[in-house]
């Protein structure tokens, strides 16, 4: 998420549903005090945007979406594996948030709330994917390992290191294969902790469980991954 402060000029009342709202991105210095102030102002911005969105201001909701949509799309992309499915999850998550924003009672942060919606949609996707394994766009090689076809396309850009790219793709494929062996819940906890750097307490809040359960799930997930990737060093 960007560290800049957003100055949002919103039309209220009769002009609320028009798209004539101005948003300016104001750069701030990066010293800790200013960063803390920027974080505080971001939270105030979000509260104002949520209240405006609850009263029907669609532009406010769209601005709120822009604060969170990059990490949401990144999570969806990594869990679903395809851009098409990631877009579907992104769309469903924010539409659900829009329809239910009136029920948001500030009992948690909007961040936790939107992540909850996205993780539930991703969990549903993972569970359906486990059932429909024959739909996976993978190819088996001579050793029986599976690789995503699209990952095999060489990077022809200038400056690309083919050998490093190949190693990176092979590593990614092995890790993806090992992640498939986790249960949807284990995969979700691991994804949120390892790839998104969230605290386990936050992970517990998002998944409607306790921090202790999230810790145990992470432990089980890493043990399984170590077993599956034992030959990798």
């Amino acid at each position: 998420m960007p560290a800049d402060v957003l100055v949002v000029t919103l039309a209220v009342g009769a002009g609320a549903h028009s798209n004539k709202n101005r948003v300016e991105r104001v750069s701030k210095n990066q010293d800790p005090t200013t960063r803390a102030m920027a974080g505080q102002e971001r939270r105030i911005d979000d509260t104002i945007l949520i209240r405006e969105a609850q009263s029907g201001n669609r532009a406010a909701f769209e601005e709120l979406v822009r604060h969170y949509d990059q990490p949401v799309l990144r999570l969806a992309l990594h869990l679903t594996g395809t851009e098409h499915d990631a877009q579907d999850v992104y769309q469903d998550a924010f539409l659900k948030a829009y329809k239910n924003i009136g029920r948001f009672r500030f009992e948690c942060s909007f961040y936790t709330w939107i992540y909850r919606i996205v993780t539930n949609l991703c969990l549903d996707h993972l569970r359906k994917k486990n059932v429909r394994k024959e739909d996976a766009p993978v190819v088996k090689d001579g050793d029986g390992g599976e690789y995503d076809l699209l990952e095999q396309v060489a990077d022809g850009r200038a400056g690309a290191n083919p050998e490093r790219d190949l190693m990176r793709r092979q590593l990614g494929a092995r890790i993806s294969g090992a992640l498939e062996k986790l249960t949807p819940r284990e995969r979700m906890v691991f994804e949120l902790k390892h790839y998104h750097g969230l605290k386990l307490r936050t992970v517990g809040e998002i998944l409607h469980t306790t921090e202790e359960t999230a810790k145990n799930t992470l432990f089980r997930a890493t043990q399984k991954l170590r077993g599956a990737l034992a030959d990798m060093r």
Binding site: L75, A86, F94, L95, R103, M232
Partner: protein
């Protein structure tokens, strides 16, 4: 036992999730135990390998296309009406009281047992006759049922939303107050146990 505890917490240590005092204890043990030190090193190496694989950032094109698609969908989407904010959300409420059924069951059993047990103690100190015994059995049973209701209200008032707390606790407090006024010693005991 200590080594087992350390191995269970090594993953959390690598991810920086341990409290400072726990981390210190783990590091102290690892400094003295060769096996655990090797395990920690293996876990750190594994973590380093996993960290080479990063979640791909969505391309600007993908983000822009997703935003446009969402904007189009929002033009026809409808928000929930204002009364949805006031409507009771059973799913959300159930999530908040997810621990309360277990707690309620425990308090329910204690309340009922306490009520019945108290009445049996009264029976033991009274001259035995069929009428007295039957009356005391009924009294014990009703005390247990009374304790059960207090238990249910007490347990479910934990973890509910502010509105639900107000709506449950007021009648339960009023009911408790009313029953306490009856002066029956079994009810006072059950109420105390039920709380």
């Amino acid at each position: 036992m200590k080594c087992e505890w350390v191995r269970e917490n090594i993953t959390l240590h690598v991810y920086g999730e341990l409290a400072d005092d726990v981390r210190h204890e783990l590091e102290q043990h690892v400094a003295r135990c060769g096996d655990c030190a090797a395990e920690l090193k293996a876990e750190q190496e594994f973590h380093a390998v996993l960290s080479q694989d990063r979640a791909a950032e969505p391309t600007p094109n993908l983000l822009a296309a997703s935003r446009m698609r969402l904007q189009e969908a929002l033009e026809t989407a409808e928000q929930g009406h204002f009364w949805h904010r006031l409507a009771f959300d059973p799913a959300n409420w159930l999530r908040q009281v997810r621990f309360s059924p277990a707690l309620a069951s425990v308090i329910l059993i204690l309340g009922f047992a306490g009520g019945v047990g108290t009445s049996y103690r009264v029976v033991a100190h009274q001259p035995q006759s069929p009428v007295t015994s039957a009356r005391c059995l009924r009294s014990g049973f009703s005390s247990g049922v009374g304790g059960t209701f207090f238990s249910i209200f007490s347990a479910f008032s934990v973890g509910v939303t502010k509105v639900a707390i107000r709506s449950f606790s007021v009648p339960s407090s009023a009911l408790a107050h009313l029953l306490l006024r009856t002066g029956k010693p079994e009810l006072r005991t059950v109420f105390w146990l039920g709380r």
